[in-house]
C-alpha cells in the first residue's frame, strides 16, 4: 500500500516552471529522502504534499485519497521546518498541543498525547519552557514533538537538522532513525547532507531542476547511478571523471582507452540495453576508493597536491599528467605526502561509463554484487 503517490505533478510560479512532472511513490512506513542541488524544488515538492502550495497540475494521493484540493490541516501530514517555526509566545506544551486544541480534542486526550510525545523525545522537563529559553537541539525536538502529537500518516521534514552543530546532528540523526522505527509512519525528508541521506533513507530521490533523476535505495544510487549527474551527486568525496574512448566491443564487455593512462586499456561490463560503437567518446567515472590499493603495473600517474587524513581514512587530491584533477583514497597509516607522484591503477570492474548525454552505459561490479546478494 502506498501512503503518498504523486502522479505527473507540476508546479509553476507564474511563468516559471519549478516542478516539471514528478512521479513518485512512498510506501507505508518508508523513509524517503529528497536530495538535489539548491533550488531544484525539494522544498516546493514537500510544500505541495502538505498543502502549503497548490499543485499546478497532476495528482496527489495520500493514503489512497486524492488530496490535491484538501485543506492543508486535513491531509494527515505534519511538517517539521528548518527554522523550527515554533510559536514563540507559547510554552512547549502549548506548542505541541496547538493542533489538537484547534481540532477541539478532549483535554485528557490532548494531555496524554503531549506527555507521550514528550517522553519519546525526552523533553518532559521542558514542557513549561518558552522556545526562546531553549537550545537549538531542544527546539528541534519540540518541533518534532509537535508533529508526533498530531499522529500524522506522513511526516515531512525540510532540512530539519541543518541548523544544529555537527555533534548534535549526528545524535539527532540517530534518534530520528529510532523514532522512525518506533512510530513506523511514512517520512519524507529533505537534506543536503550526504551522510543523512545515505544512512537514514530506505529510498533516495535525486532531483535536478524540478525533475527526478533517479529513485533507489542508497546503495543502488551509489553503485549503479543511472547517469553522470547522480554519480557525481551521490558520494563524498565526489566520483572522479576521466575522458576516454571506446577501442573495442566484445559481447558484454567494452574496451576503453584513457589518455591519462596510456598503457592501460579498461575492460568494463556493459548494461544490456547500452549501445556502444568503437571510437565513441565516453566519460569514465571512478570513485576515490576504486583505485587499487597497491599500485603495480599500469595506471595513472598522479602528482599529489593535498592529503586529508581523517584518521580512519585519508584522501589524496592530485592531478594527472594531463592536468585532470583526481581524488584517491589512501591508507591513513601510510598516506602519500604532497608533491609525491604515485601510480594509481584503476579497478576496471568498478568503473562507470557515461555517454555524451550523461547516461550510464556500464554495470559496475558493485551493482552486480548487490544484485547477487539480493537474489
Amino acid at each position: 500500500m502506498a501512503d503518498v503517490v504523486l502522479k505527473n505533478v507540476r508546479k509553476s510560479f507564474g511563468a516559471v516552471d519549478v516542478i516539471k512532472g514528478v512521479d513518485l511513490e512512498a510506501r507505508h512506513g518508508e523513509f524517503v529522502v529528497f536530495v538535489g542541488p539548491s533550488g531544484c524544488g525539494k522544498s516546493t515538492l514537500l510544500r505541495m504534499i502538505c498543502g502549503l502550495e497548490k499543485i499546478t497540475s497532476g495528482q496527489l494521493l495520500i493514503g489512497d485519497e486524492d488530496m490535491s484540493d484538501v485543506e492543508a490541516s486535513d491531509r494527515g501530514t505534519a511538517m517539521v521546518f528548518q527554522s523550527y517555526a515554533l510559536y514563540p509566545h507559547m510554552t512547549v506544551a502549548e506548542n505541541m498541543s496547538f493542533a489538537l486544541r484547534m481540532a477541539k480534542a478532549p483535554r485528557a486526550e490532548v494531555d496524554k498525547r503531549v506527555r507521550r510525545a514528550a517522553e519519546i523525545l525526552q523533553i518532559t522537563h521542558l514542557l513549561d519552557r518558552k522556545p526562546k529559553d531553549m537550545s537549538g537541539g531542544q527546539r528541534q525536538r519540540v518541533a518534532i514533538g509537535r508533529a508526533i502529537v498530531r499522529a500524522p500518516k506522513v511526516f515531512l521534514f525540510d532540512e530539519p537538522l541543518s541548523n544544529l552543530d555537527a555533534e548534535l546532528r549526528v545524535q539527532m540523526r540517530v534518534e530520528l532513525s529510532k523514532l522512525h522505527n518506533e512510530i513506523g509512519a511514512t517520512m519524507i525528508y529533505v537534506t543536503h547532507d550526504q551522510v543523512e541521506a545515505m544512512t537514514m533513507a530506505d529510498k533516495i530521490v535525486v532531483l535536478r531542476d524540478g525533475l527526478i533523476e533517479q529513485i533507489g535505495s542508497p546503495l543502488d544510487l551509489y553503485t549503479a547511478p543511472d547517469n553522470r549527474f547522480v554519480a557525481g551527486f551521490i558520494g563524498s568525496p565526489q566520483m572522479n571523471f576521466l575522458q576516454g574512448q571506446v577501442t573495442g566491443v566484445s559481447g558484454i564487455e567494452v574496451q576503453v582507452a584513457v589518455p591519462d593512462a596510456p598503457d592501460h586499456i579498461l575492460r568494463v561490463p556493459l548494461r544490456r540495453t547500452a549501445q556502444v560503437q568503437v571510437g565513441q567518446n565516453v566519460t569514465v567515472g571512478i570513485r576515490p576508493e576504486h583505485f587499487l590499493g597497491t599500485p603495480e603495473g599500469p595506471g595513472l600517474e598522479v602528482r599529489i597536491d593535498v592529503v586529508e587524513n581523517l584518521g580512519g581514512i585519508a584522501y589524496a587530491y592530485g592531478k594527472t599528467n594531463a592536468g585532470q584533477e583526481l581524488i584517491l583514497k589512501a591508507e591513513s597509516e601510510r598516506p602519500p605526502h604532497s608533491g609525491m607522484v604515485v601510480t594509481a591503477s584503476i579497478n576496471d570492474a568498478y568503473c562507470h561509463l557515461f555517454d555524451d548525454a550523461g547516461q550510464t552505459l556500464s554495470t559496475s561490479a558493485g551493482a552486480i554484487r548487490l544484485r547477487d546478494a539480493a537474489a
Binding site: 492543508a72 528548518q82 515554533l86 510559536y87 509537535r146
Partner: protein, 308 residues
C-alpha cells in the same frame, strides 16, 4: 627636586586606577550626563515651574500673586473645564480605534500583490502630512455648502448637518479627522511588526488547522505585542495632547463644545493672559498623562527584567 616630576605621574596613575576601578559605574554616568542636563533644563525645570505657576495669579507680565489652590477651585467649578475633560475622554476612547484600524490595514497591506507598493505609499500619505493640513482638508470635506461630503450626500437626498458648527457633532468630526493620520501611524508600527513575524510560523499554524480569525488572535497578534504596546501608548498620548486639529478646525467652538484641555489651556494663556489658571489646567493634564506614563514605564521595567 628630583622627586618633583614623579608627583604628577603618580597622581595620574592614581586617578586612572580610580577611574578604571569604577569604570563600569562612571562610564554610563558620563554618557547619560549631557542628555540628563538638557532634559532637566528643558523638560523637568519647566514642569516644576509650571506647577508652581498654577498656585499664582499672573498675567504674563507684572507681579505674580500667590493664590494657593484658588485656581484649582475655580477650575472645578468651570463648566468649560468639565466639557473639555469629557471631550478628552471621547478622544481617548475613540482614538483607540486607530490601533484596531491600523492593524487591519497593515494586515491588508502585508500581502504580496502586484501594485501593493503604490497602495502602501497612499496609506502612508496622511502620516506625512502635517496635522494642520489634515485639519484644513477635513474642514473643507465637512463644509455644508461646498464640501465633498455634502456634494456626495445631497443627490441621495440626505441632509447634511453642519458638522463643525453643531454642538454635539463637532468633537466627533475632529476626532474622525485625527483618526486618519493616527491610523496611518499605527499601521506603520504594525507593518514593521508583521515584518518580523516568521512566515514559517504562520505556515505551521495553518498546518495545525488555525485559520482566519483564530490564526490572527492566537498566532499573529501575540507576536505583535510590542507593536500593540507602542501603538497604544502613542495613541493615548496623542489623544490627550490633541490640540492642533481643534485649533485649526473649530478653535474649541461652537460655545466651547469641542474644546479639549490642551486647547483650553492655550486659550487661557495666550488669549486671556491667565497664566496661573492655564498652568493649573496643564497640571491636571500632566497628572492624567502620568497615569499612562507610569504604566508605560512599569511595562518597560518588567520587560527589561524579563530579558535579563
Amino acid at each position: 627636586m628630583a622627586d618633583l616630576p614623579m608627583m604628577p605621574a603618580q597622581r595620574t596613575r592614581m586617578t586612572t586606577s580610580f577611574f578604571r576601578k569604577h569604570k563600569l559605574l562612571l562610564m554610563p554616568l558620563a554618557f547619560i550626563a549631557p542628555a540628563f542636563a538638557m532634559f532637566s533644563l528643558f523638560v523637568i525645570y519647566p514642569i516644576i515651574q509650571s506647577i508652581g505657576l498654577s498656585f499664582t495669579q499672573w498675567q504674563g507680565i507684572g507681579p505674580k500673586t500667590w493664590v494657593g489652590l484658588n485656581n484649582y477651585r475655580m477650575l472645578f467649578n468651570d463648566a468649560v473645564f468639565w466639557t473639555s475633560l469629557m471631550n478628552n475622554v471621547y478622544w481617548l476612547v475613540l482614538f483607540l480605534l486607530a490601533p484596531v484600524f491600523g492593524l487591519f490595514v497593515a494586515l491588508f497591506l502585508n500581502q504580496t500583490v502586484f501594485g501593493i507598493r503604490l497602495v502602501k505609499s497612499l496609506f502612508f500619505f496622511p502620516f506625512v502630512v502635517s496635522q494642520i493640513v489634515v485639519g484644513i482638508i477635513f474642514a473643507w470635506f465637512y463644509d455644508p455648502a461646498f464640501g465633498l461630503l455634502a456634494t456626495v450626500l445631497e443627490p441621495i437626498g440626505l441632509d447634511m448637518p453642519p458638522i463643525l458648527s453643531d454642538e454635539t457633532l463637532a468633537t466627533f468630526g475632529i476626532i474622525l479627522a485625527g483618526l486618519w493620520p493616527q491610523t496611518a501611524y499605527c499601521m506603520i508600527l504594525y507593518l514593521t511588526g508583521l515584518n518580523s513575524v516568521n512566515p514559517e510560523v504562520i505556515e505551521a499554524a495553518r498546518l495545525d488547522g488555525a485559520k482566519g480569525w483564530q490564526l490572527l488572535v492566537k498566532i499573529v497578534l501575540p507576536q505583535l505585542r510590542a507593536a500593540t504596546f507602542i501603538a497604544l501608548v502613542v495613541t493615548i498620548i496623542g489623544a490627550l495632547r490633541s490640540f492642533d486639529l481643534v485649533a485649526v478646525m473649530t478653535e474649541g467652538g461652537p460655545y466651547n463644545s469641542s474644546n479639549v484641555l490642551a486647547y483650553y489651556m492655550y486659550d487661557n494663556a495666550i488669549f486671556r493672559y491667565r497664566m496661573g489658571y492655564a498652568s493649573s489646567i496643564a497640571t491636571v493634564l500632566f497628572l492624567i498623562m502620568n497615569v499612562y506614563i507610569v504604566w508605560f514605564l512599569m511595562r518597560l521595567w518588567n520587560n527589561e527584567k524579563g530579558t535579563r
